[in-house]
Structure formats: structure tokens, C-alpha cells
């Protein structure tokens, strides 16, 4: 909805003084017979074992929710991505378990209640729901996958607003034709070193311990979850990916591929291909989502 102050006030000034409430502006009339165009989110995703691994320890889950009719809510999509670790297949079990646990909690806790118009302090905040979802996944992984761990990245996208929770070094970016802007922070030692100016990004990229995480799902003790909230500007795309993509394909190439692809699915496939061409050292997972164009 666009600001409509001016149109309303214009209308109001002609209204009778002291009238209790001017009439609501009439809804735009769609052409007869044609269904009114509806705003839709576009989503693409791909996950691939890569070139050098025996199996895929990444997991991806996407839930789309759209509602039409009276009081329709903005189109909503839940995106979850996890990159498992741990031997004896524990990694893939952990990541699969984690994405499902997150989705289950978010669907139950907030997706339907969010479309209501009355809210109260008795409901958990979105941030709390996201954190709780990740913590539940953490408990499940600890309980059921001893020796397994996983990164966990989830994004709830409603219209053009994204709510993101992250643990580990899978990344969320905003991709525009001009480049990529990283939203999340990696929970890796090298990332902190770079932030502190103790290491250059170049050194970090080749540091033998670049994959060492200080925070991941599957660890005992309190788990701190990062949350982010951002608006997706028109023309930009939300990217979620595992390190199998961002370690192999630089941000400029990512932006280029997303920009030239004709659909987000095509872009996902092309990104996976690019990572494989670059060596495909790890599993590669990609999710792309774009908010509906504003009317």
C-alpha cells in the first residue's frame, strides 16, 4: 500500500464539518472478468553434493504461504538452510532434523497468528519465535544426533520484509545488480579475527582453520542465536547459501549470475554449476527469494 495521505485529505476537505469519519476510499476496480493481479513472491532453490564429497550434508526447506480473499496477508515464505557436520552421516542427519524442527516451530508459533489484526504482548515476538525455533532444533540435534552439528539459517519473508535467524557460517545476502551485501555474520574464528583487523579477508579465506566455528547447532550449553531484520529493496533478491557457494564463487560473480538469469530457479542452478566448476569442494546449497514488486 502506498501512502495515501494526500488523496484522503483531499477527499476529506470536501466532507461536511464534524462528520464522524469520512468514507473509505473505494478499492480500485479490476477490469471485468480478469482476475486481479496478485503480488507473489518468487523463490528458487538448489542443493548439490559438489564435486569432492561422498554425500550431501546440507539441507534446504521452503514453505510458501499465500492467502487470498478478505483480509489477505502479504505473501509469506519460510526459508531454511543447514550445513551439517560430523562424521558417520551425523552431519546430514543433523541438518535434516534441524531444518524440519525450525519449520515446525515457526509454522505453529507464528505463521498463522501473524495474519491476525489483533496482537498482544502474550504472543512471543517474532525474534523470540525465531530464536526458540533454532534452540528447539539445537535440543533435538543434541538429543538425537550425538556427535553431529549443523549451521542453521532461516528467513521468514513477508512481503518485502525479512526476519532472519542464524547460527554458524551459512550466509544471507541481499543481492543487487551492483553486488552482494552480507546480512549475517559468520560464527567462525577467522571472521572475528578479520573484524578485529587481526587478519585480512584474504588471509581468512585461506586460513587452515577458516571452517572452525565457535557457535553451531548441536552444541551443549546456551546457544546464542543472531537475529536480523531487513527490508528487501525493490529489485534486490535475498540469497541464503552454505559455504559451499560463498567459498567457491565470489560475490561479484554471484551478483552477476543472479542478475542475468531469467528466473531465480535458473539462477540457483547456475550458481551451483559455477561452484562446481570452481572445484565444488563442499556441498552447495542456495535459496533465492524476491519480494513482489510494489504495485
Amino acid at each position: 500500500m502506498k501512502p495515501n495521505w494526500k488523496s484522503w485529505l483531499g477527499r476529506f476537505r470536501r466532507a461536511e464539518p464534524r462528520e464522524e469519519g469520512p468514507p473509505a476510499p473505494p478499492a480500485p476496480v479490476p477490469p471485468a472478468g480478469a482476475p486481479s493481479p496478485r503480488p507473489r513472491l518468487e523463490v528458487g532453490w538448489a542443493t548439490d553434493v559438489g564435486r569432492q564429497r561422498g554425500h550431501n550434508e546440507d539441507a534446504v526447506l521452503v514453505v510458501e504461504l499465500e492467502q487470498g480473499g478478505y483480509r489477505s496477508s502479504p505473501p509469506t515464505v519460510l526459508l531454511v538452510l543447514a550445513d551439517g557436520m560430523g562424521g558417520h552421516r551425523a552431519g546430514e542427519v543433523a541438518s535434516a532434523l534441524a531444518v524440519r524442527a525450525v519449520a515446525r516451530h515457526i509454522l505453529q508459533a507464528c505463521l498463522m497468528p501473524l495474519s491476525e489484526r489483533e496482537h498482544s504482548a502474550d504472543e512471543p515476538s517474532l525474534k523470540e519465535v525465531l530464536i526458540e525455533a533454532v534452540c528447539r532444533a539445537n535440543e533435538l540435534v543434541i538429543e538425537h544426533v550425538p556427535g553431529g552439528g549443523t549451521t542453521l539459517l532461516c528467513a521468514l519473508l513477508m512481503g518485502n520484509q525479512a526476519y532472519i535467524a542464524n547460527v554458524g557460517d551459512s550466509r544471507a545476502y541481499l543481492v543487487s545488480p551492483g553486488g552482494c551485501r552480507q546480512i549475517t555474520r559468520d560464527h567462525s574464528i577467522v571472521d572475528v579475527m578479520v573484524e578485529l583487523g587481526q587478519m585480512t579477508a584474504e588471509e581468512a579465506a585461506h586460513h587452515p582453520q577458516r571452517n572452525v566455528l565457535y557457535r553451531a547447532v548441536g552444541q551443549r550449553g546456551p546457544l546464542e542465536v543472531d537475529t536480523f531484520f531487513c527490508r528487501i529493496p525493490p529489485g534486490e533478491v535475498l540469497l541464503l547459501c552454505s559455504d559451499g557457494l560463498w567459498e567457491m564463487v565470489n560475490e561479484g560473480e554471484i551478483a552477476h549470475i543472479v542478475t542475468v538469469s531469467s528466473s531465480l530457479q535458473e539462477a540457483c542452478d547456475a550458481l551451483v554449476q559455477k561452484a562446481n566448476e570452481a572445484g565444488g569442494k563442499d556441498n552447495i546449497s542456495v535459496i533465492l527469494a524476491a519480494s513482489p514488486e510494489p504495485e
Binding site: 551425523a90 496482537h119 525474534k127 587478519m199
Partner: protein
């Protein structure tokens, strides 16, 4: 690697990088699993440079198969009778034992046994060398704070190190058991002792020794209350410029240790980290590495002096060169503290930093005839403000000269707003007033059926204001005619906020109403107590405080809670929003700075009274009043006090800044103009 390479992602710091990166190490995990370290030489792990799993004793794993522990009563070398296990884990077990060579007395000692289960002969050899190294380093040391070595021997395929048994508790266990904080003087006293022993190690001849694993659990407090340094498992003879492997304990280790640099000033960093942990009770192993500067000590423990914090901050500098050059230098700094002179540190309150309050020169002040609760509005060189003496005052903003006043029938709590040459305000006589801003002549009034505490919001030619008659009114700014009103559930004292699509206002029943520009309800949000605070519109979120102690960030369009932050008291203060930060006061006495997008605490500052005044942000500074009678100026980024100014009464009025002058009212009846 000796141990289950692929099985255990919890292998920890110091683990060699693996070929197979799918098994990614998560250092520090083991260390997170609470800990009670026992007495004696509690060093689990043989100290092999590349293989030391820190604190694996705490993982609660069963003893490794094939490495059975010695049974009670076992006698080693015909001399040491095993009395029980003190701690075990990793590659070693520590036993309490009795030295039988002293039959008349019970001479106790600690026996550390290395379980060399590695199958690779080279690994076994390295581990053995490391164990020997620990023994030989310890054997050359002679300092009261370092446990004495009695014996070292090999029996079968196991190596043993016998040392003095230190009865007492380690500081981590003590920290966990202690309620509240350690007094500053206590911690300083320990720190001085640690500096002493570090000085001894760092100046050791022929070569300095770097301890490399300073942390609370490696500091024992013996029966005499003296600090003893234990676990030399990874201590190293310092060789300048030599690179080693990343080692140490996550959370305490200095940044350079991850680059393989181990040097004496790394121990100083780790001591800083240890002191930070001891004073704040914030376990650094649970925090992102190297983030002490983001968690200033006073934020957790306001009793700690600024001077001690400075010392700790210097020890924690990332840049080695910026730290204390030596433990001796740090000790001297510690000894210069007041708390080191035996003065009671517990009651010590940090002195006000920055400019002295009396150094602030008032530009002007103007006395009304009653309390000033209203916040000023400055427009074209004129300051408008209401007072409980029923008057709305117009003053010259530059000089404070009286221009005119307008008397209503009740006290004025409402803060005036100026638009289109008119000044609008409500009065507790129940009316909304519109005056000519220049002359003070009455243009119109709009009477409501209740007192007005809410302040007008003028937007697109309309005035929005709430009343105790439980209504929100939209009144045409020129004509004074009501466009619409909506009924709330309680009195509306909150000041309406205007967003691109709606007007937002709270009521005393705790309901926040989002009303469309046409007067129709868009959504409602119900807090648990009154919303007297006025909402603030951010880019996508609406921020509001409630008397239920929370600050809420609501989705602007739909009203759901995106995040909330709980203060320790009712929030009547209205948030001020910048691009990244929300500033708000609470009746708990603090001013809070919260991350606007996710509600994380950036900083908070404690004033001497409730903060019901609303902050104003201007050129990197936050201005706010407190019921303690002061006006505060805080650094917007750090929350450090820039200055404060004492008035003669509580300051509930919200400061406003114009042309580098801060204006605010006080319950001492005065309006003040202060330099920024």
C-alpha cells in the same frame, strides 16, 4: 590425531586442521559444559601441542576403554598410595595419593598419570615428549604460587608426574558458587598475585616461559587464600618469533595465539580476560571471541571502578604493543588503584566522568510559577512551553526573554507543537488550543470531555491528540473542526505518532491503536500494562514503551511484535529512533540504547532516578532528564557521560535541541537553556 577423528565434532581448540573439512571443529564446545575443576594438579591432557582437548574432563565421558584408572589402594613405585581420582579426562587422570615415605604423617600429593592410548608410535612419542616437557618446566620453577614437583617416573606404558597437592578451590568453581560479585579489592588482590607469578615466568632464565592457558579454572585459591597457578600442560619456553600451533582456551586466549604466536603479553591478555570474567560473571567461552570491549564491565557490575576497567581494557588490547609491556607494569597499575590500598571497594561508586557538572554554564533560565512537565518546542527562534501554572509561555530561544503567555483553565502537561503559524497544545482543562504562534492570540479551542495530558501531533494540516475521555481526536488545524475521533479502551495520554499510512497511539489500558488516515482501525496491539509512552515510527518498525516494563518493536503495517526488550521498570519515556538505534528511558533509572532492528542492548546508562523523560538525539549525543533532577548528555555510541546538569527538581520534561542549545523544563519551575 589420536582420537576418533570423524566421530567427535566437539574436539576442541588446538585440534589440528583436518583434511576433511566436513568434520568441522567447534572449539570451545567442550569448555561450555559447566565445570567444577578439582584440586591438585588439575591438568587433564598431556599438553601435546596439537592434541590437547581442553577440559575434556568435563565432558562426562566414560574413561576410555583400555585405559582403566588406577584402583584405590594401588601403590606406585612402592611409594605413592592412590587414594582416589581428583579429575580425569583427555589423555590423563589426576589422583590424590599419599606419599608412603613419610609414614608418621599424612603427606598428600597429586599424581598425574598420562594415558598414552595413541596407536601411532610417532604420536605416542610426541605425547610423551610433551608430558616430559611439562614435568621439566615445572621442575625448574621455584615460586610459591607454582606447585612443587616431587617426582617424575615411567611405569609400564604410563608416565607419572607427582606434585604438591593444593587444597582449595579454583576461581571458576568459586565464581560459580558465589552469589553476587566478588568485591573489587578481592579481585585486584588476586590479580596482583597473578602478575607476580607471571613476572616470575616471563623473566625466567635462561628463557622466559609463557603460560598460555590463563583462566579462572587454572587459578587455585589455597587454604591461606593465596593464588596458585596450576596446569602447565601447555606452558611453553618462549622462543622469540617461533610459530606454534593455535592453542589455549577459547574465550581467554589472545587473538595472536590463533596466528600461532605465543609470547608473554598473551598471558597478560588472558589475565585481562580472566579478570573480566571474574568481575562480570560473563563467561567469555559463551561469547564470540575477542568481544570484551563490546561488553564493558560496568554494564554488568557498576561497582567496578573506572580505573580498574581501564587497566583491564589495556590488558585486553588486540594489538600486542598496546598492552602492558610486562606483568610487572600491569601490577604497578593495579597497585595504584584505590581498591588496592585496602579501601572498601564495594561501596565505591564511579566518579562522574567527563566535564564537571558545575563547569556547565547555563545560557539562560526562565522561572515559571509552577512545575514544568511539558517539553519545549522551538520554532523560528521562539521557545514554547507549558507549565502547571496554567500558562503556555513563549520565550525568545536565544535569550530566554519573555515574549507572551496564554492562560488556560488548567495546568499544562502537554507539549506544544507548532505548524502553519499556529501553536497547538492541550490543557488539563480538557481543551485543545490553537494560538497564533507570533502573538499568542487564541484562534480556536476544541473541547474534549477529559483532561488532556497527551501532546498534539500535527500532520498534513490536522492535529491529532488524545484525551482522558478515552478518545483520539483528529482536528483540522485551520478550522478547529473535528475530522474524526476513535474510542480507545482507556485514557489516551500517549502522544500520537504519524507514519506514512496511519496514526499510532497508546492508551492507559495498554492498547496501541493503529488508525488509518480515514479514522478506521488498521490493527491493535495489547501490552500488559498502560502505554503512556508515545510511539516512535522507524523505517519498518514502530517502537513504543509500556508500563509492563517492555520496549516493543512492532511491525508498522501489521502490529505483530518483531522484538521486545525488558527493562527493570515501567517505560513511560518515549523512544527516540535513529537509523540504527532506539534510545529510551525506564523507571528502573536507566537510559537504554537498543539495536533498532533486533532489540539487542547496545548500552545502558544508570542515572540517579527514574527516567520518564524522553531522550533526544542530536549530533552524536543523547539528551535526557531524570527524576534525580539532572539533565544528562550521553555519547550516543557508547553511553559514556558527556556532562550532566543538576536542576532543582525532577526533570520529566524531554530536552529539545535547536541551534546547539539544549532546552528543558524542570519541576523546579524553571526552563533551562544549556550549551550542547
Amino acid at each position: 590425531m589420536a582420537q576418533g577423528q570423524d566421530k567427535d565434532p566437539q574436539e576442541s581448540a588446538g585440534t589440528l586442521p583436518r583434511e576433511d573439512l566436513s568434520t568441522r571443529v567447534m572449539p570451545g564446545l567442550a569448555a561450555r559444559i559447566g565445570s567444577t575443576r578439582l584440586t591438585g594438579i588439575p591438568a587433564p591432557g598431556p599438553g601435546a601441542e596439537a592434541t590437547r582437548p581442553p577440559d575434556s574432563a568435563q565432558r562426562g565421558e566414560p574413561a576410555r576403554s583400555g585405559a582403566g584408572q588406577l584402583a584405590e589402594g594401588t601403590i606406585l613405585q612402592g611409594r605413592y598410595r592412590i587414594l582416589g581420582v581428583i579429575g580425569s579426562g583427555g589423555m590423563s587422570t589426576v589422583y590424590k595419593a599419599q606419599d608412603l615415605r613419610f609414614p608418621k604423617v599424612q603427606r598428600l600429593c597429586a599424581v598425574k598419570e598420562m594415558l598414552n592410548t595413541a596407536t601411532d608410535p610417532r604420536v605416542r612419542a610426541v605425547m610423551m615428549q610433551n608430558f616430559e616437557r611439562e614435568a621439566s618446566i615445572l621442575a625448574t620453577l621455584n615460586h610459591p604460587a607454582i606447585p612443587q614437583v616431587y617426582d617424575y617416573f615411567i611405569e609400564g606404558d604410563r608416565a607419572y608426574l607427582v606434585t604438591e597437592l593444593i587444597p582449595g578451590k579454583d576461581l571458576e568453581a568459586l565464581l560459580n558458587e558465589t552469589e553476587g560479585f566478588f568485591p573489587e579489592a578481592q579481585v585486584v588482590q588476586w590479580a596482583v598475585q597473578v602478575c607476580d607469578v607471571l613476572t616470575y615466568l616471563h623473566t625466567h632464565k635462561p628463557q622466559p616461559i609463557v603460560f598460555r592457558d590463563m583462566k579462572p579454572s587454572n587459578l587455585m585459591l589455597d587454604d591461606q587464600g593465596r593464588i596458585r597457578l596450576v596446569d602447565f600442560g601447555i606452558a611453553k619456553v618462549f622462543q622469540s618469533g617461533a610459530k606454534g600451533t593455535m592453542i589455549g582456551t577459547e574465550g581467554y586466549s589472545p587473538p595472536e595465539q590463533y596466528r600461532g604466536i605465543a609470547e608473554p603479553r598473551g598471558d597478560i591478555y588472558a589475565l585481562g580476560a580472566t579478570l573480566h570474567h571474574l568481575l562480570t560473571k560473563q563467561d567469555p567461552r559463551l561469547e564470540p571471541p575477542f568481544t570484551f570491549h563490546k561488553r564493558p564491565i560496568h554494564q554488568y557490575n557498576p561497582a567496578v571502578s573506572a580505573e580498574l576497567q581501564e587497566i583491564i581494557n589495556r590488558a585486553l588490547e588486540y594489538d600486542i604493543q598496546k598492552r602492558f609491556g610486562s606483568a610487572e607494569e600491569m601490577k604497578r597499575a593495579l597497585l595504584s588503584l584505590k581498591s588496592a590500598r585496602g579501601l572498601a571497594a564495594t561501596a565505591y561508586m564511579p566518579a562522574p566522568e567527563g566535564v564537571r557538572p558545575d563547569a556547565l554554564k547555563v545560557i539562560w533560565q526562565f522561572a515559571c510559577e509552577d512545575e514544568v512537565r511539558s517539553s519545549p518546542c522551538i520554532h523560528e527562534g521562539v521557545l514554547y512551553i507549558g507549565a502547571y501554572d496554567n500558562n503556555l509561555y513563549a520565550l525568545d530561544a536565544e535569550t530566554g526573554k519573555f515574549l507572551w503567555k496564554y492562560a488556560t483553565e488548567g495546568g499544562i502537561a502537554s507539549s506544544p507543537a507548532v505548524a502553519e503559524g499556529r501553536v497547538f497544545f492541550g490543557s488539563t482543562d480538557g481543551s485543545l488550543y490553537a494560538l497564533n504562534a507570533e502573538t499568542g492570540r487564541l484562534l480556536w479551542t476544541y473541547p474534549t470531555k477529559g483532561r488532556i495530558y497527551s501532546s498534539p501531533r500535527v500532520q498534513f494540516g490536522h492535529v491529532f491528540i488524545g484525551s482522558d475521555d478515552r478518545h483520539l481526536y483528529a482536528v483540522h488545524a485551520i478550522s478547529g473542526r473535528m475530522a474524526w475521533s476513535i474510542e480507545a479502551e482507556g485514557a489516551v495520554r500517549s502522544t500520537p505518532a504519524a507514519g506514512p499510512e496511519a496514526i499510532y497511539v497508546g492508551d492507559e489500558e495498554g492498547v496501541l491503536h493503529a488508525v488509518g488516515v480515514n479514522g478506521r482501525l488498521i490493527w491493535r496491539f495489547r501490552a500488559r500494562r498502560a502505554i503512556t509512552s508515545s510511539p516512535a515510527v522507524g523505517q519498518d518498525l514502530l517502537y513504543v514503551g509500556s508500563q509492563d516494563w517492555f520496549v516493543y518493536a512492532l511491525d508498522l503495517r501489521a502490529g505483530w511484535v518483531v522484538w521486545r526488550y525488558r527493562t527493570d521498570g515501567p517505560v513511560v519515556s518515549s523512544p527516540a529512533v535513529t537509523e540504527r538505534t532506539v534510545y529510551v528511558g525506564s523507571a528502573d533509572g536507566h537510559v537504554y540504547a537498543l539495536d533498532a532492528t533486533n532489540g539487542y542492548l547496545v548500552w545502558r546508562y544508570r542515572t540517579g532516578g527514574q527516567v520518564t523523560s524522553s531522550p533526544t538525539v542530536y549530533q552524536g549525543a543523547v539528551y535526557v532528564g531524570s527524576v534525580d533532577g539532572c539533565v544528562y548528555s550521553l555519547d550516543a555510541q557508547t553511553g559514556q557521560l558527556r556532562w550532566r546538569f543538576q536542576t532543582g527538581g525532577p526533570v520529566v520534561s524531554s530536552p529539545r535541541v535547536a541551534h546547539d542549545i539544549v532546552y528543558v523544563g524542570s519541576l523546579d519551575h524553571n526552563v533551562y537553556a544549556l550549551p550542547i
